[in-house]
């Protein structure tokens, strides 16, 4: 082992480095900072990508929604709503449609707290509330994994300002797990309490349905209640046959707008667009972070090339002498590769400490989770490779220096 190390000429490389401490230190510091930034930036990107990858539970590619705002003074809201829904459902290409009080991922919605016992001082579990009729599960494209859907007889009207809740609810698996100690199956048939005292029976469990707020830590907790809002502003949520969404969006908007002049149809939006808007900041931040990582690595890489070229220019005669004394081209090249490896090593060790330090600061200042060690190792290996790649061109140039240079004077 010692012999191998001796053959690698680490000793002479190290001693030569010590004569140009500042140059080596500058590269090492650059590598350290690059690693610090790179690892944390990748980590931030990962966190965002994971959030964006979560399923909403909806049939996102084939759904859209629109707002219906009534301004006419004498208007039978209930009748009009039923007529509208019937018209939409009968349109060829439409799978189903409902009136919905809030749109998943949109940022605006309704939430309530549910308790397993009635009472004023009991800790509750927060949940998003979606008011649907018996078409809800089909229109949203949800997967019912236990229990049964609402019947049309379950559906009641919710007047403006009412605080009464219906007797049944269908909840998500995540909400069931949060309320019943991880055992979602046991939730079926149980009674939970809303608004501190009003009992509701869990008659069904759906696999996934996200809340309207993507930054909420309870985003997977939602409940369906069999109620229809009776108000001047409502939203229709529509699911089409695969591939027919874009064709049907203007058709349905026109049909509704023309059928009745006492209201405005607006904000006709697809679920895909809602998702894009919902995660727009995440997406933008990730693009910026990626750009920073790439540019930073390039700058560090070119910096290494520049400094190595310079040091080789200065040592042209020494290299020539070594070649004249019998060193092979490969040995010269290896010398510079190893020199860079030594410097990079010092850099990545410093950088690993810096990355953990920056992460600790980010965790304490902003709401972020701690870094995974695997990422750190990947970063270290990646930067060592970048260093070797960057130095390989100058090293190649060095190895091509002719032994005859030794005998010539300084250029």
């Amino acid at each position: 082992m010692l012999e191998l190390l001796a053959r690698l000429e680490l000793g002479p490389i190290f001693r030569a480095l010590m004569r140009n401490k500042i140059g080596a230190l500058l590269i090492a510091l650059q590598i350290a900072l690059t690693l610090t930034i790179m690892v944390n930036a990748i980590f931030m990107m990962q966190e965002r990508s994971q959030q964006m990858a979560r399923a909403s539970g909806l049939d996102e590619t084939n759904t859209f929604y629109l707002s219906n705002t009534v301004f006419a003074q004498d208007y039978n809201l209930k009748t009009a709503l039923q007529q509208d829904l019937q018209r939409i459902r009968q349109t060829p290409g439409v799978v189903d449609a409902i009136q919905l009080n809030a749109i998943p991922l949109s940022g605006g919605g309704w939430s309530m707290s549910l308790q397993t016992k009635a009472g004023d001082d009991i800790e509750g579990t927060g949940s998003a509330v979606y008011m649907v009729d018996e078409h809800g599960i089909n229109a949203l494209g949800l997967e019912l994994i236990a229990g049964e859907n609402f019947q049309s007889s379950d559906i009641g009207w919710r007047e403006i300002g009412s605080t009464k809740w219906p007797a049944k609810t269908i909840i998500t698996k995540a909400l069931a797990e949060a309320m019943f100690e991880g055992d979602w199956k046991s939730a079926l048939g149980k009674t939970v309490y809303i608004d501190n005292h009003q009992p509701m029976q869990i008659t069904g469990i759906i696999n996934t349905l996200q809340a309207p707020w993507n930054g909420w830590n309870g985003v997977e907790r939602s409940m369906l209640v069999p109620q229809q809002l009776d108000g001047k502003g409502s939203r229709f949520f529509i699911r089409t046959e695969p591939g027919r969404r874009d064709e049907l969006m203007p058709v349905i908007e026109k049909m509704l707008a023309e059928s009745d002049r006492g209201r405005i149809i607006r904000n006709v939006t697809s679920m895909e667009q809602t998702r894009d808007e919902s995660y727009q900041e995440h997406q933008a931040t990730n693009t910026i972070l990626l750009t920073v990582i790439i540019v930073l690595t390039l700058i560090t890489g070119f910096g290494i090339v520049g400094l190595a070229m310079f040091s080789i220019n200065r040592r042209t005669r020494q290299i020539g002498t070594r070649r004249a004394l019998g060193a092979s081209q490969w040995q010269v090249m290896r010398y510079f590769m190893l020199e860079n490896l030594l410097i990079s090593f010092a850099g990545v060790i410093l950088g690993a400490a810096g990355a953990v330090g920056l992460n600790i600061w980010l965790v304490s200042t902003f709401s972020m989770s701690p870094l995974s060690p695997v990422l750190l190792v990947i970063g270290v290996v990646a930067l060592l490779i970048v260093g070797q790649l960057a130095v390989s061109y100058p090293a190649l140039v060095a190895s091509k220096i002719s032994p005859a240079t030794a005998t010539r004077g300084r250029a």
């Binding site: 900072l33 007047e159 310079f310």
Partner: protein, 436 residues
Amino acid sequence: MFSYYVKLAYLSCKRTWGMTLLMVCAIGLGIGASMTTITVNYLMSANPIPHKSEQLFFVQMDSWQPNNPYNDDGDAPEQLTYRDATYLWQAQKAKRQSIQSGMSAVIEPADKEVLPFMVQGRANSADFFPMFDVPFLYGSGWDHQADLKKERVIVINAELNERLFGGKDSTGQTVRMAGEDYKVTGVMDRWNPKPRFYDISTGAFNDVEEVFVPFSLITEQKFSRSGNTNCWKPTESGFQAFLDSECIWVQLWVELPTEQDKDAYFSFMNAYAKEQHQYGRFARTDNNKLRDVMQWLENQQVVSDDASMMMAMSLMFLLVCLLNTVGLLLAKFLGKASEIGVRQALGASRNDLFIQHLIESGCIGLAGGLLGLILALLGLEAIKVMYGDWIRDLAQLDLTLVAMAIGLAIVSALLAGLYPTWRACQVQPSVQLKSQ
């Protein structure tokens, strides 16, 4: 002498153009990235109403449930119940007070050919306009009597005036909204404070509303409320029950010109909380807050985490770029050792050499700074495209920022050039001359 040094710097840069290009690019990228993030942070944390931000206070009263505080850190809620807000407003204990909430309604234009449309608005009391120095194109706001008498009056913004009245002076005309006629008392001139400090609960960087109507009309239930509503105590059904409930959804701003006014108002708030405590409300009577504009923006963390994180990252990025430049400059200046030796032998003092090389670093810094400025402009454009509409007013360079970018570039380059220059001046002429 100066122009001679600049010429020398030019010749030297030309000789090692690859290295020079690399240094200019490194500084440019570092400055560009930093200036982009600094701009967004600077504008996010700007004072939207600098001349009186210390006289405007946001009123917070802790009417939340006894068992759990509203905020995890124990701070009072961001909004008030209707009953508390109207009590404080009616008391008129401050110089001015604006009680407010968001609203929306449908406007039916007089021209039947034009389709009805929806507007976002604000329900506020008369003091809103003089308190926040709202500029008017025509007319003015309404008076306190209009609030009390629930008059149907309205202030519209310039764009809506353009749309409804072709941009003419529309004061005294009527607007049909939510099925009733509202008399226009004033047309607001362009006004878009960033952050929109007077209501940050619905987006600190949103645009100012299109219409403003008296808050007292909320009880008529003609138009719909908008904004956040949070409740903790079960209530009876019906609108009156909602108004009497513990739900919080109303905001109150007060104008208190002096420190004494502030103290007096704060005692008044606390006395009210104590009185209510006797009726079983206000479990935490000492948790009321009176924050001025900048304290309130700070408390609500208007500068987003992403923006501050990006700024920290970009400053570290600039540091890497500078280290890079130090290394390259060092290499470059030491490469000129023989030239420096010759110049010294011919009589140049260390001082002359020092200035000469600092000018060379300064020129590289200036070039990098200009490149950085261009990159910052591109970066801000990219941010506008990627983050969407709300950020457009936060991604604009003003003169201060441009000066800052150039200053930052030159200072960075000089700092980066300092050590290499010093090293270059240490060259011993005899050694250099001998080795020739």
